[in-house]
Symmetry: C2
Subunit: 234 residues, 2 copies
């Protein structure tokens, strides 16, 4: 099984995704939000690129749809919830359809549409993602959402953690960038010793979102693997 990695939503090259299992990672925080919402009984998640699309889909049916996401890490006006996974409790999401738009994660998901399968990964469901990858048994491209088109240390180390799970269960070949992600994880298994230097981490600290950080860095606490298919994640 060959494992490659793309460093940001802006660096996706469609030809690299053909016949591959893609795992999209935006651990701070979009893919942690999506995973948490589905684990808590949300019926499906629709990722969209713009605020307008989100509002259009929800229309007046705000019983059925909830609107979530962020711009510049903050809640969007008129939306129900921000990009904090802690907002997506069973009470808030059960039986609802979440329409989500974020700066990086939703772009990375939509940009991966040429892949064979698109899984949604984070620290919180890394082990389950690795198991699903093994079951699908195709070569893998881990797509890091990154931050505003840039490489993001948090998504990179999360990729390394998923690779670490895979390395314990099967023979893997890694490209140099995937080897480096794995190296970074193996040298920083606590995660925070590495991501504390990340631009995105500092931004989230500035906003006082410590509880989000702690939750998003918790390994394997959810065994749901969201999958994106024709516009919908379930």
């Amino acid at each position: 099984m060959l494992i490659d990695l793309i460093i940001s939503a802006d660096d996706i090259k469609e030809e690299k995704l053909i016949n591959k299992t893609v795992v999209v990672i935006d651990m701070l925080r979009a893919t942690s939000v999506i995973t948490t919402a589905l684990a808590n009984g949300c019926s499906s998640v629709i990722p969209v690129l713009t605020v307008e699309e989100a509002l259009d889909i929800a229309g007046d049916d705000r019983e059925r749809y909830i609107l979530g996401g962020e711009r510049k890490a903050l809640k969007i006006e008129g939306f129900d919830f921000s990009n904090s996974p802690l907002d997506y409790s069973k009470e808030n999401v059960e039986g609802k359809t979440l329409v989500i738009t974020t700066s990086n994660g939703t772009r990375a998901i939509k940009g991966s549409e040429g892949a064979k399968n698109i899984l949604i990964g984070a620290m919180i469901n890394a082990k389950a993602v690795a198991e699903k990858i093994l079951e699908l048994n195709n070569d893998v491209v881990i797509v890091n959402a990154g931050t505003l088109g840039q490489f993001s240390m948090d998504d990179f180390i999360c990729s390394g953690y998923i690779i670490d799970h895979l390395s314990k269960s099967t023979d893997i070949d890694l490209t140099d960038i995937a080897t480096t992600a794995h190296y970074v994880y193996k040298s920083n298994e606590d995660i925070v010793s590495f991501i504390k230097y990340a631009w995105h981490y500092k931004r989230i600290i500035e906003l006082g979102l410590m509880a989000d950080l702690e939750y998003c860095c918790t390994k394997d606490c959810i065994d749901v693997v969201p999958e994106y298919n024709e516009g919908v994640i379930s």
Copy 2:
């Protein structure tokens, strides 16, 4: 001083280079060759993309021009020298113009033409490159040539070494990818403990080029900083 990094010749985005000092790195082995040749009295280096261009420039004047480079890490038919820096001795290069074509390095140099200055960097001249960067006093983009359009661990750690020199002399701001390169270097100051896992390193070992590897990993043994200007490196 802001320092960013681009992971391969295929990932260069021209808008990122405007008004920047670019350092092109292909430590195994094109930028080590260019640096060595100029240090040994080669009058100038012309990087070209194709074998045909190289042969055209040299024409019949093989007293003035020498032809160097590689395809698939091997010497090109009809050329004088391979991509081994050890070929570029004073005896072989003094007073000559080197026309060079390689799989990755020359593409990265030509792809960086939108920058303000284009320096040629490697482990062997890293300290001198850092000093030149400080003198130019612009923001920096380190362009890793990579290997066949892919991230390459060897160029990445070499970037980290140049960043380490800069960090000791001035205040630097690093993007997440530059921070990661610096982290990788600081954790592997001997270089080989990291690059022994690189695809490109393994290829060079297969070809029996141990002496090249040892030379290319020698820190700061040359104080020449080649600079590319309008098609010529001097």
